[in-house]
Amino acid sequence: MLSYILRRLAATIPTLLIVSLFIFSLLYIGGGDPAAMLAGGEASAVEVEKIRETLGLNDPYLSRYMDWLTAALQGDLGQSLYSQKPVTELILQRVEPTAMLTVTTMIVVLVLSIPLGILAAWQAGRATDRAVMIFAVVGFSVPIFVVAYVGIYFFSVQWRLLPVQGYTSPFEDFPDFLGHMVLPSLALGLTLSALVARITRASMLEVLSQHYIRTARAKGLGDRPMLLRHALKNAAVPIVTVIGLAVATLIGGVVVTETVFAIPGVGRLTVDAILRRDFPVIQGVLLVFSFVYVLVNLAVDLSYSLFDPRIRYR
């Protein structure tokens, strides 16, 4: 198992190298001259040239990439062109809200989608099933910002039940944290819940037609143990896979959600960096996101063996 994990991690190195080269090249694909931007509109050509020199922008391409990568591997992602602060520090400051939003969103997704998917499969063809499927189609098609603004309008503006925007750390004021997280996690989680509910239903339906389910019923088991003990674990692999994908798509959704709800997370950092053409920050964030994505994939792969004893890693 351990050697499998190590080999899988090693296998991600080429992927990460290609991704990092791409991220590094963004600076040049994106057009615009960071030195000129940073110097400001009125700066003379000499001043711009000086900045370019200090940033090392005049060195050969590959050698700059190698320098950048070596530094990144040591945790040094460069300096923000805007605030002059180390990118690593900027990201670390913003990690908590984003991590918390991810966790609360995944809780929403799991609590909503898996029971709904099981219910729909159990009641296949009946009214409950149709209702869940309608939810799945609608939930999947409504954009995050629509849910967000409708939610803010009713819950925050009209009924004044929840704060409109912002973020409080759970370590400072937990109830306030929850209040702030309800709408963002629902807005972000709805689409994903719809997706996961659909997959759960499909996977459960497939399992429920298997012979061993007939055996379970022939033993005299009721619906609950039949569904939860016998069916769900067999249906788990596709469900976990799609949850992994959901976490990956969440990374994109976080940017929109944090902007709408003014949450000071990595998503907001990214948006601000893009608006300011703050390339070191953009590169740093993308690099971190790619790394998280690779880790999530690995975790999903490894979790298969928890659900299915026929899957063994050597």
Binding site: H211, L221, D308
Partner: protein, 336 residues
């Protein structure tokens, strides 16, 4: 023998499937009794309704596609055809157990063997998890699985087909049911394994006085294991008789056709595989209830009468019934 009260009495069972082309009368008026400790074999061509009959008894028919449209299934006098699902959960696995044709896929791949046996015990006997786990090991031993303790911790994919069918049997007998329904339990297995499973079932019957409804295509098996035989054709019972009587004097031309090459009774050399004889023609569609003898189009003895009316079941001797206007003559010279 006939005076013991039946354990299970199936009376005029009607089971229908809703399909796009209308209702299919998969089981159309089948009746038979099983007495305590008795083994009744249910035989007939593929598609004649054997599995549907057994699933009707267990009330495990696909809920939305099938329904029991009429008749009674009396277990010690209690009608299971109309029992609640709640009640059926107490009956299944406890009073009546079932083993299936597909040993490779009938066990849950993600639960250990021991767990799958213990689960039934916890459910019906109220044992704790630990007690049930221990009893599961004993049960594995009683179905002759070597190293039962180690096997209990294994998953189905680590066992062969024969082993898995033994595990299914262990699950089925865990709560000492009064009736075991075995739906072609050996069809999917190698010949030598088939013989071992049959020996095991015969042995269990001897030890426990459990009754058995044994569904099979294999006439060698029928001769070996059954006391009484029910022959089905196109959803109907067309003949039934004590096993020796049926082998000696099949009355219905269909039965006679099936038994064309009679295995020698009592030659229970394990693993005989005399399949039912091929009879020319095919099974009629079951779209509508029979208005005449459904076997008539394939029957060498059929007359206009057979094509106009449904032959009633008529007595052919002690415990012997056949639904035929022109039964086969008694070749052995006995009286009908």
């Amino acid at each position: 023998m006939t005076d013991t009260a039946p354990l299970l009495s199936v009376r005029n069972l009607q089971t229908r499937f809703r399909t796009d082309g209308g209702e299919v009368h998969a089981v159309d008026g089948v009746s038979f009794d099983i007495r305590p400790g008795q083994t009744v074999a249910l035989v007939g061509e593929s598609g004649c309704g054997k599995s549907v009959t057994s699933l009707s008894i267990m009330r495990l028919l696909p809920a939305r596609a099938a329904r029991i449209a009429g008749g009674e299934i009396l277990l010690n006098g209690e009608n299971l055809a109309t029992a609640t699902e709640q009640r059926m959960r107490r009956v299944r696995g406890n009073d009546i157990s079932m083993i299936f044709q597909e040993p490779m896929t009938s066990l849950n791949p993600v639960l250990t063997i021991g767990r799958q046996i213990a689960e039934t015990l916890e459910l019906h006997e109220g044992l704790t998890r630990r007690e049930a786990g221990e009893k599961a090991i004993h049960l594995l031993a009683s179905v002759q699985i070597p190293e039962p303790k180690r096997r209990a911790a294994e998953y189905p994919h680590e066992l062969s087909g024969g082993m898995r069918q033994r595990v299914m049997i262990a699950i089925a007998i865990a709560c000492s049911p009064k009736l075991l329904i075995a739906d072609e339990p050996t069809t999917a297995l190698d010949v030598t394994i088939q013989a071992q499973i049959l020996d095991l079932l015969a042995d269990l019957k001897e030890r426990t006085n459990m009754a058995m409804l044994f569904i099979t295509h294999d006439l060698g098996v029928v001769a070996e294991i059954a006391d009484h035989v029910v022959v089905m054709y196109a959803g109907r019972k067309i003949e039934e008789a004590p096993v020796a009587d049926l082998y000696a004097r099949p009355r219905h031309p269909y039965t006679a056709g099936l038994f064309g090459a009679l295995p020698v009774l009592g030659s229970s050399a394990g693993g005989q595989t005399d399949r039912l004889n091929e009879i020319p023609g095919s099974v009629p569609s079951l779209r509508s209830p029979a208005s005449h003898c459904t076997f008539a189009p394939r029957c060498p003895r059929s007359t206009d009468l057979c094509r106009a009316e449904v032959p009633p079941l008529a007595g052919q001797g002690a415990g012997h019934l056949a639904a035929c206007f022109h039964p086969e003559p008694d070749q052995k010279g006995g009286t009908a």
